[in-house]
């Protein structure tokens, strides 16, 4: 049954027509991913070099996005910032979704006290406002890149867990699950071969949404000065360090904001424009 579903879904997947908005959004995401990977090779100036005599310089030839509060090239800094914003967020969302989804499936399949304890505990974690949680934890464990990745991941595990568990509980009541249980399959087989293939598409859509939340939280923390520490700078930190340029509407403060917005809005639009079949919970 699972095999039959998988093959039909692949064929219809390719046969789907995608909306224009979805394609544009996907291209923007692809572009930022490429920039994140290639940044060190394509930046015109070193990010630490002071290349402009003026600070908060305007956009002009050679300095396409103007200069920052020290007269450094803004284009290079934004391109390098993509590396940290996209990289850290992607690593965190991968950890969060992997742990959350695996725990959720185990809880749904096992049931009983394990399910109750996990659900209660993670629901309690979910009741801490994410920004507050981030603030306290980052202050406690510091703002090194691994610490940030782990903190952001821990904050979003409960949400991923809840989502995956709700889906897995429905699958768990299906006949093929009973059959597999009667066959005496192990929990690993049950979650890996029976449940996961049936919930993977909504889980991937959830992955995208959670990525947006993490980008926003990381930017927020960096903006408060508790995220990435100088000399490293992600987009949130770039807005923070150049906030002094706000009264002159300097590109140095506007461009990193727009970069964040272009990424998060694109991911949201891509998910909204995915073919119904991929996006829906009961796919």
């Amino acid at each position: 049954m699972t095999i039959a579903r998988a093959t039909t879904s692949r064929r219809s997947f390719l046969g789907h027509s995608y909306s224009l908005v979805g394609i544009v959004a996907a291209l923007v995401i692809l572009a930022w991913t490429l920039v994140a990977i290639l940044a060190p090779y394509i930046i015109p100036h070193s990010i630490g070099d002071i290349v402009d005599d003026d600070y908060f310089g305007p956009m002009r030839q050679g300095l396409w996005l103007g200069s920052d509060y020290l007269g450094r090239d803004m284009l290079s800094r934004v391109l390098m910032g993509a590396r940290y914003t996209v990289g850290i967020s992607l690593a965190s969302v991968a950890i969060a979704c992997f742990s959350g989804v695996v725990l959720g499936m185990i809880a749904a399949v096992t049931g009983g006290w394990l399910d109750i304890c996990l659900s209660r505990f993670l629901d309690a974690m979910n009741s801490i406002p994410s920004k507050l949680f981030g603030l306290v934890v980052v202050a406690a464990v510091g703002s090194s890149i691994p610490a940030l990745i782990l903190t952001l991941a821990v904050i979003y595990i409960p949400g991923a867990y809840r989502f995956a568990r709700a889906l897995a509980v429905n699958i768990n009541t299906m006949d093929f699950m009973t059959v597999a249980r009667v066959r005496g399959e192990s929990t690993v087989y049950l979650i890996g071969s029976e449940i996961l293939p049936n919930i993977i598409r909504p889980v991937l859509a959830d992955f995208g949404l959670r990525f947006v939340f993490i980008v926003l939280l990381l930017s927020g923390l960096s903006f408060l000065g508790l995220g990435l520490q100088p000399p490293l700078a992600d987009w949130g930190a770039l807005v923070r360090e150049n906030i002094g340029g706000l009264p002159f509407a300097a590109p140095a403060v506007i461009v990193p904001s727009l970069a964040i917005a272009s990424l998060t809005i694109s991911v949201n639009l891509l998910i909204d424009n995915l073919p119904q079949k991929i996006r829906d919970r009961d796919a």
Binding site: R120, F121, D123, A124, M125, S127, I128, P129, S130, K131, L132, L135, V136, V137, A139, A140, V141, G142, V212, L216, S219, G220, F223, L224, L226, G236, V239, I243, L246, P247, F248, A249, V253, I254, S257, I260, A261, T264, I265, N268, L269, D272
Partner: protein
């Protein structure tokens, strides 16, 4: 109301209380992991080891964490929030005035954003698929997708830099006249209203659309009821529960919002106090602020749940 609903509501309140305890515990342990030894930070670099040890003893810093947690909890029950490490003032005194400021900010934002968001959300649902609906939807997705500080930055650019209507920073103490007051609260309130309303519009719109697709609304349409009557008379009373639920849930975004907004506009509220306390590692202050935020957040999401339970006819 039957005992069934009462039981569900009581159970929900019980869960909220347990959750609060877990959260307090988590916050306490996270803050006690903060780097650096509080005693040596307080005494400065010139302190002798004996003085540091003495202070640690006096502040009970050597006790196991669980003991300090219980002591702190006991103090809370007596209304004693502890003493700030940084300036030796009672935490309650530090928080008092600033709490009022934050509540004012949250209150004004709520008063503005609830009517605004409900009007936009309900009308967008009524005119589903129209240009108006699509504009409202796109703008609200846009606002949700960007960080709060960007909304704040754009608001400053628009109102303070280009239009020069409002000052970019807040200082509540300088308020003498009504116009002063409006000018001070305007920027933070505008920013927060945008952030909160966007959430509320989306949820309200979804709730109304769901009700509009029910059989009895279709029946009203077939009977020849006008569009307005169909929505106001048939759909809205039944969508009330989900809408109130949406309002309470959206208001819980205030908690995250004020942290950014108070910092960017230098508004003297408890969120700003807490961000500063994190910088100075002032544990009692961080714990109390975090507790207030979590309490507010839990109250709102519990209220949302209770309303959802009460408005479900199958449970009533």
């Amino acid at each position: 109301m039957t005992s069934g609903v009462l039981n569900l509501v009581l159970k929900r309140l019980g869960i909220a209380a347990v959750t609060l305890l877990i959260v307090l515990f988590a916050v306490f342990f996270a803050t006690s992991m903060l780097p650096g030894d509080t005693a040596s930070i307080l005494l400065g670099q010139a302190a002798t080891p004996e003085a540091v040890a003495g202070l640690r003893e006096a502040m009970h810093l050597n006790d196991p964490a669980i003991l300090r947690f219980l002591r702190w909890l006991l103090g809370l029950l007596h209304g004693d929030l502890g003493t700030s490490y940084a300036n030796q003032m009672p935490v309650a005194a530090l928080i008092g005035g600033r709490f009022v400021n934050t509540m004012e900010l949250a209150g004004i934002t709520t008063l503005l954003s609830v009517p605004l968001a409900l009007t936009l959300g309900i009308t967008a649902a009524m005119l589903r698929g129209s240009l108006y609906d699509r504009t409202v939807t796109v703008v609200s997705i846009g606002v949700i997708s960007v960080p709060e500080f960007m909304v704040a930055t754009l608001a400053v650019l628009l109102f303070a830099v280009y239009l020069k209507w409002l000052p970019a920073l807040s200082s509540v103490n300088e308020a003498h006249t009504l116009t002063d007051l409006v000018r001070i609260y305007a920027m933070p309130v505008i920013t927060l209203t945008f952030v909160i309303s966007a959430q509320m519009i989306r949820m309200t719109r979804a709730a109304v659309i769901e009700t509009l697709s029910t059989p009895y609304v279709e029946m009203a349409l077939l009977k020849g009821a006008s569009r307005g009557r169909m929505v106001l008379r048939h759909a809205l009373p039944n969508a009330l529960g989900p809408i109130v639920n949406a309002v309470a849930l959206s208001l819980s975004y205030l908690v995250g919002g004020v942290i950014i907004v108070e910092t960017i506009f230098n508004y003297p509220g408890i969120a700003k106090l807490m961000v500063d306390a994190v910088a100075t590692r002032d544990l009692p202050l961080i714990q109390s602020c975090a507790m207030i935020f979590c309490l507010g957040y839990l109250l709102l999401i519990t209220a949302a749940d209770v309303v959802a339970i009460m408005s479900n006819p199958r449970l009533r």
